[in-house]
Symmetry: C2
């Protein structure tokens, strides 16, 4: 059960502990003969360096703290995939906590992550109070992903939600729609940006914006669609939903009401999660490059961790439209 230490390897190889350390770190200033001896001894003992001891002694860390608001949401899971990919390549490990969008719990989670003195901290769509983020950013590189924020020393990675919303509107206008309603994502900054983008795009086409308050869930989409139907008056011919699950909720309600999609009404989602690609759903949607966002975040942290200092970047990735089967010219 007790694993061998560097001391054991040194004894077996007939060298000093320091030499074993050099070999383990791949130092070039070790003679070939000794290196082999050490490597052999290590292999015989099945030795592997103790990452924590190493970290403590070298005052460096190969840990990246990650706080995910909701792992269960595939959107974040795919960002974590991107983080993981870069972390692996750069020799870092992810230490993950979830926050569940509860500020108190998220503060605690951040504190626990920081107690490991990680090399950097990534917050994915988290609701941690800005003041705490700022505090953390004084001690280590921090990057906030999928939540627009301007906090001193804090890097961000977001998609250009304004552009994304415009892509959706432009596409619908292109195929002939003029009455386009937006189901929004609620009170978050991200939702506000998309909503503003939608409104600006509508006005640019000389059209009247029409927003129904909603949220980033399946049920939210159902309710918003129901409200739209109850509202009376002329129905829009297209809907720009808050995100993919919201769109799928709307799809359900429209189907129940006997409305055909896309013939009676077109629907555009947002995120391009795996969900939208299912042929059964085939949702036209705005792609957010999630893996890329995760990669950018990880690279930013690694870079700043290694460079000692370095100013945080605010990255805006470019969304793109993916046209599937839920949009078509309006029936005239």
């Amino acid at each position: 059960m007790a694993r061998p230490t560097m001391e054991d390897v040194a004894a077996r190889a007939g060298v000093s502990r320091a030499l074993v350390s050099l070999v383990m770190r791949g130092s070039p200033k070790v003679s070939e003969r000794r290196r082999q001896a050490v490597l052999d001894a290590a292999a015989e003992l099945d030795y592997a360096p103790h990452a924590m001891a190493r970290s403590l002694a070298s005052r460096t860390s190969t840990l990246l703290g990650v706080l995910v608001s909701d792992l269960h949401n595939p959107f974040f899971a795919e960002i974590v995939d991107g983080l993981d990919e870069v972390a692996r390549a750069e020799g870092f490990e992810l230490i993950i906590n979830t926050g569940g969008l509860d500020p108190e719990r998220e503060r605690d989670a951040v504190g626990r992550l920081l107690s490991f003195r990680p090399a950097g901290l990534a917050l994915l769509g988290a609701a941690v109070p800005s003041a705490d983020i700022a505090d953390a950013a004084r001690r280590l590189p921090v990057v906030v992903v999928a939540r627009p924020a301007r906090i001193a020393r804090v890097g961000t990675v977001n998609d250009d939600g304004r552009l994304g919303a415009r892509l959706a509107v432009d596409h619908l206008v292109d195929v002939g729609h003029t009455r386009i309603t937006h189901f929004d994502g609620g009170r978050t900054t991200e939702a506000r940006i998309r909503r503003d983008g939608y409104a600006a795009a509508m006005r640019a086409h000389g059209l009247e914006p029409d927003v129904i308050r909603s949220e980033y869930t399946d049920a939210g989409g159902e309710k918003a669609a129901a409200r739209l139907l109850e509202r009376g008056g002329e129905l829009p011919t297209a809907v720009v939903a808050a995100n993919d699950v919201n769109a799928v909720g709307a799809l359900s309600t429209f189907a129940d009401a006997g409305l055909a999609v896309p013939d009676d009404i077109s629907v555009v989602g947002y995120d391009n999660t795996a969900l939208s690609a299912l042929r059964r759903i085939a949702l036209t949607t705005v792609d957010q490059p999630r893996a890329e966002m995760g990669q950018l975040a990880a690279r930013a942290l690694v870079r700043r961790a290694q460079a000692g200092r370095g100013k945080p970047e605010r990255r805006l990735v470019t969304p793109s439209l993916v046209v599937r089967s839920t949009t078509a010219p309006p029936r005239r």
Copy 2:
């Protein structure tokens, strides 16, 4: 940037380092007066213990290593949620790596996790060679989740796939089906168990099993359905799919072929992922209690980590049927 150490707190509070250590660990044998002094000093300096130093000195760890084959799959993400919940409650943190079902890469990932000397290791649906798992199990508590395995000293948490498959078949037979085809999940042990469960259940009802080789993906479901249609002869009236995404793939193909679900053909999924609950999909499926599986795994690790020794458990959780709208009596 340099965080205060226990030494700093001790100096400020006018006590020894050891006393600060006791206070930080909530020891009862500290006078109230000193405790307050230490707590105040710690607060003033914004001190927080260094988890790695603590871990090194105490020869214990509050890290649980987690290897996820595919985080992007919501099934695993929800298991991680369960792990995270228990870990948080018990004062542990998760250190996560993904393996992508590539045995070589997974071996490496396990090695990296072990270099942190975690208190336990959870493998979620991973493809790590059994020999490596056995090796790891010699050094620390290991639990394999969602992958039936019998390895010395290794705990497991799985659902009873045989029962799950039977639930699906029984339900279909109950509502009147007799020609029921299974799209299987390929070569994995889990898939074999479900396949055997399906076949046994069919025979128990005096029916002939009929399996089409498939896999745990959307595309796999589409292909299997296509093969079924091309095969000619009388079509089955129901399909037990490998899992939810496989079922959704089948749904798409059936829709394209003009087959109505559930009127022309019933479909049952497996897993009860969020996907199946979408009203647009409303898939009848077998629920695997994923969060519970994660919780059980975490608890098993924590228990064994704290108990020193302790024999690994093999837990079998009970799946249950969730009837939605893709199953109905066959048309006669």
